[in-house]
Subunit: 344 residues, 3 copies
């Protein structure tokens, strides 16, 4: 009997089944400090207990993407160990802030299955949910991946493709309990821009860039207990390169976007995302954003910005997302679509 | 008067003397987070307060090897600054879990001395003990090192070589107070295998591999306040390489062994260990284990597995430990023998 | 309207104005653990709660330079984003220990302005102060930088150059409330040397060396939320190198100086400092110290040592600070002048 986990193959998934992921994880001040060492994180609400308390929270919540990576990392051994490609995200919603001391666990429900026409792989759609130690959901999102079949002759399941929203609706955004921007200190936050200062269609070049190191992306990826071999083992690829976890690029781009979006404090929805091209150590990354939409939330003074966040390799001209054929332009690494809360 | 520490030489040790090591160290959530960033640590008992509480503990204890490295690191300035080789370990016992907020200090007693026949060095045997802030012992182990003489003409001491057990006896293993696996959640832990699922002689290839980075092994080794120059100073060796701390390889191998030994939750004894070959940044490491023995402990439901854990360089065939002449096979870096607690 | 911060230029500063810096930051156990992973920090007062409590403190305060870097890092977007050179420090005083859980913020007052004769840049003198969440000052220092003008034709301000002390006077040193060395444990601290064991003019070669890694200096610099692009972006310089943050060299040198100055526990004043030459990843650093002065403080048993701390590249002979022309000798990277508290 083999004791190690070979990962699941396409024919191992059943529509509707719920997969419980190992291992639960208590997040603390150490994870926050590491997040701030690995990424140029400066959003004040996630940096300062005093600032967060002035915004009605008991203390500074952990960074939203730190929570995402933690919940996501647990799914890797069960969902994407034999994945060929990570195809997309949708319907991501942050439901409750996570504080140092909270313990997170994840589970995923299979909500769609479709074999590819070549018969050697298929697409698995899962809805993943993260819970804290009170069993309260803290995050929910849909992800779909292409997974190899173990046995090409295994019969194809009845194809089921879930309907997914193009974006989370503003009325479905969860504003954390108690959050207020009534006495928001723009000087301490770093920029004066409110919701009303941004226009739909506006683009922002975030200017700052960072060169990626092997040690850094591996520290990050291990911290989320992501076990995908390609991030850690330089002997796997012919070129001897280790693939940088796509979430590392997400966090780099999001934190670089502080410069221009310092008041877009909390991510509350992930509408979609594509890892357009692989990232490797040695790459220098920059980021730009486009304002896709604006909305009020039910909470007075708390607005929401829908943003496209694009990570690019240094030297890529900003704001060029796709080429004439509709493909991502060379140098584009990440195209993320999210909602963030911002003072009105 | 020179102010810096030249380290001790062989003739500076006296049989029976107790050496108090600097500096005491408070371990917290930060050290745990770093451990989980530096190593692919996923054992649930060390990852989740909630899981640990379900196992009868007040919170998740710090990883066992984190405690070992902390206690060990303090001994370096007094024991191994002038060591030629780290020869072995024996009789290691974890005596009390360490929690975030505990402060550890170390002391070593010289329990054996034997000058080498060449007259230029000798072997020093020490029993090192780590204590917490209540002066309770948390760890005890024997280690022997070969240390240079300052003055080859210094007289040899009466040779004393301590008798050391081949392994800690099962009845001498300390099961932490309150530990129970009665409501152990195998799904959250990541694997279904109990003590009874392992057979003596069984071997497990842990499959996963990780490529070692300079920044990572130095971060780890500094975190344990290990001051051995060879790990940090690239100008010391002719080849410009920095030697990876042997304990870094221990932790990498142990955490890689999660895949196949996810329920071998707590290390409670170190029976022996050899650093068979040096490790350098750029090496890609894998690991395999062999079940050496199985035992019950006095605590219902809590079993113990005696395991050989072998770290190898990528490309080394698993399960080949020694060559025909009895020497370690090429590519074998570490051969560790320990007891771990596992649900029965 | 551009949303990103272009940084201030010389003509943007007004004498007397107070600049509030973003973003406040809560420091915790995680930042301490990272500091101890990034630097070979072993001073017992900053390592052990138990040791600190025996010295009259409620717990181990965060390392003094960790506080300095945090306060300093916040000033970068407003003071040195367009700086050509970081010219000097003076009158630095640590005013209150910082504990895990404290939140720091920074502000700077412009206390001097002098345009350079070339008309394209000028020198800005600021007094920066760090405050905790109780609005108590924790650190104050003067720093001056050379900053480019945006518009060379902008009129020069009335030149004002503040008078700065060569060193903080011993009577102006702040001994933390409650600090006592009455039951100081020299064995646990690591060395026997008291204030009286050091002589003015004495020099100490700290012997240990460390090779600098890209990942390490970037992790550190990001942790202090320092946004200076030169530390992170390998595409900025023609040679593709990233400049190591000068504060990284300060912390490396200070922690290396444990070996010979283990009892110089707390930094209480920064008298001056020059970054004599740039440091890059791959450099191997050592350090030496010179005793510049000795003093008693008002507190019985607590003495103060004024030290010159010099960081050098490996291979640089110790104790050679300047060449015949008065310039820093090749290989000298840092020349720091500080006061530290030590048992009498």
């Amino acid at each position: 009997m083999t004791k190690t986990n070979p990962g699941r193959f396409f024919e191992d998934y059943r529509l509707g089944e719920v997969i419980v992921h190992a291992a639960p994880r208590t997040l603390g001040e150490g994870e926050r400090a590491l997040y701030h060492a690995l990424y140029p994180a400066r959003h004040a609400l996630h940096s300062s207990d005093a600032f967060a308390q002035a915004c009605g929270m008991p203390a500074s919540p952990l960074d939203d993407l730190l929570v995402f990576h933690t919940v996501f990392g647990k799914t890797v051994p069960d969902i994407s160990l034999n994945a060929v490609a990570n195809l997309g995200y949708a319907a991501g919603r942050w439901l409750k802030p996570v504080w140092p001391g909270d313990t997170l666990r994840s589970e995923s429900q299979v909500i769609g299955l479709r074999e590819n026409s070549n018969g050697t792989s298929g697409i698995v759609f899962v809805e993943t949910r993260g819970f804290d130690q009170l069993d309260d959901p803290v995050l929910s999102y849909v992800r779909w991946v292409m997974v190899r079949k173990r046995d090409p002759s295994a019969p194809a399941p009845q194809p089921v493709v879930p309907e997914l929203p193009a974006a989370v609706l503003p009325e479905d955004l969860t504003v954390p309990e108690g959050l207020t921007f009534a006495s928001y200190d723009f000087a301490l936050a770093g920029e004066p821009h409110r919701l009303g200062d941004y226009a739909i269609g506006e683009t922002i070049d975030h200017v700052d860039q960072v060169t990626v190191e092997e040690a850094e992306h591996m520290l990050a990826t291990r911290l989320w207990q992501n076990t995908s071999k390609v991030h850690f083992d330089a002997t796997l690829r012919e070129d001897g390169k280790r693939l940088v976890y796509g979430g590392h690029v997400m966090s780099l781009a999001r934190t670089l976007s502080f410069n221009g979006l310092a008041n877009a404090q909390m991510i509350v929805a992930l509408n979609g995302g594509s890892h357009a091209a692989p990232c490797f150590a040695g790459d220098t990354l920059g980021a730009w954003s486009e304002v896709l939409d604006k909305a009020e939330t039910g909470v007075p003074g708390v607005g929401a910005l829908r943003l496209r966040l694009v990570a690019v390799r240094a030297g890529t001209p900003p704001f060029a997302l796709r080429d004439d054929s509709g493909r991502y332009a060379p140098g584009v690494l990440l195209d993320l679509d999210y909602w963030a809360l911002i003072p009105m």
